[in-house]
Subunit: 75 residues, 8 copies
């Protein structure tokens, strides 16, 4: 099952809102705020590669208050 | 006592203002402008982990002219 | 023939538009969306060093929805 | 419950061995090989902050073939 | 067809040798030395995701003089 | 004589303007557009540490079209 | 008084040893292990710029188990 | 005249030796030790692109105590 971790930077006051947005997406299996270079990590599992791509590009990157994303595909 | 160093990038002309904002926060024990990749460093000490998190998320990241932060938790 | 790979970050919802903009530039020989730190990679081939510089500075960096570019010159 | 994601770079041929080493540590709840800047991600859950620190410093960083680690503490 | 760009850093005097090693791998469609943060870029095309993973992990990362790799999967 | 190299990122179409702004500052001894992670490099020489700091903070960082700067102090 | 923060990466099992080495240097005013991209932070204060440079180059960088350092000069 | 800045990281105790090695290369027009992410910067000017490439690959990268280099070509 295609799986990816997405590291997310958010607007300075947007952490809670983005976490809630992520939790409302069915394919997001984990979502935590982080200390460090990135503000949030999310684990995504999708049925196909195409679905994975769509969830990241169409849903996660379009959440309000997301500033940038960095996706790491699990092999 | 939970402790963290926060590395801060600021708006191009915002250095002095952010330093002053930091110095007004009781839990900020040091705050200096830097040369290099980051513009400012601040040392935070709080009574609990939760307090530390709140000071960074609710106070420091909401200072005017802060562009982004990178937090390093001291072990 | 001077050649460069340009790694591009785009506005969160700008991936498709930038890919189309790149494909319309004759000297762009490849352009793919990526997972990872960068959103898009493009391979540019130009007749001269000056031309290469102009395509990157005048065409690619001016595409709508491009946020930043990082150019690697092939030796 | 204290939780951290550890991003790991391994010796060039060490991926499988490090994954197996991670899976043998009880507090490692997930461990996947990745494409991108980091080779492996692991999710650690421990009973206390001190335990979390010990697992990372005494167990994970001492696995054979680990080259470097970057830890992100979940808030 | 699964495709990935691999950015490679090599031992200080290993550039030519790694380029030759890459050119001997059938699935490597391009390989150039670069100026900048990375020393070499290679474009890989494989029949399946599994094959792509094997070529990177078993062939490219095991070439003599390769120091580290950073893989960007084309969507 | 205190000396620093400043690596500068500029707005996408701002390269020429920033170079001209830099060349108008007496203490800027070199200024070139670059390929790679940074868009421009400038070498600054000042009479004192304080002067160096002021030129970077008050003049260079306030040039129109500068997006961010990274200063490396020469020892 | 010239001041610098030095961010240090250490050999995988070298954290405690480097902290002890730092604490034995008079000009090191703080030294903590960190979570994140860097393993240790140290604050250095010296009488002169030259002294600061010598402490970093001759003492800190020569501590056993130090892998690399990144120095941020306080303005 | 082709020109490049090379940012160099050196073995922990190798700074002086690399600076001396650089100063002995005719095409190296400047070489300074730095505070920050990189240890040394050098400015190279060569008669042709090919010469520039050879000086970096055959001379600078082969200096004893050089650990890695990052080259930025001036446009």
């Amino acid at each position: 099952m295609p799986k990816a971790y997405v590291l997310i930077n958010v607007e300075l006051e947007g952490g809670r809102e983005v976490i809630e947005g992520l939790e409302a997406i069915e394919e997001v299996k984990e979502a935590y705020p982080l200390y460090g270079v990135y503000d949030i990590i999310a684990l995504i599992e999708a049925g196909t590669e195409q679905e994975l791509k769509d969830i990241i590009g169409q849903k996660i990157r379009r959440l309000d208050k997301v500033r940038s994303t960095m996706t790491m595909i699990a092999m």
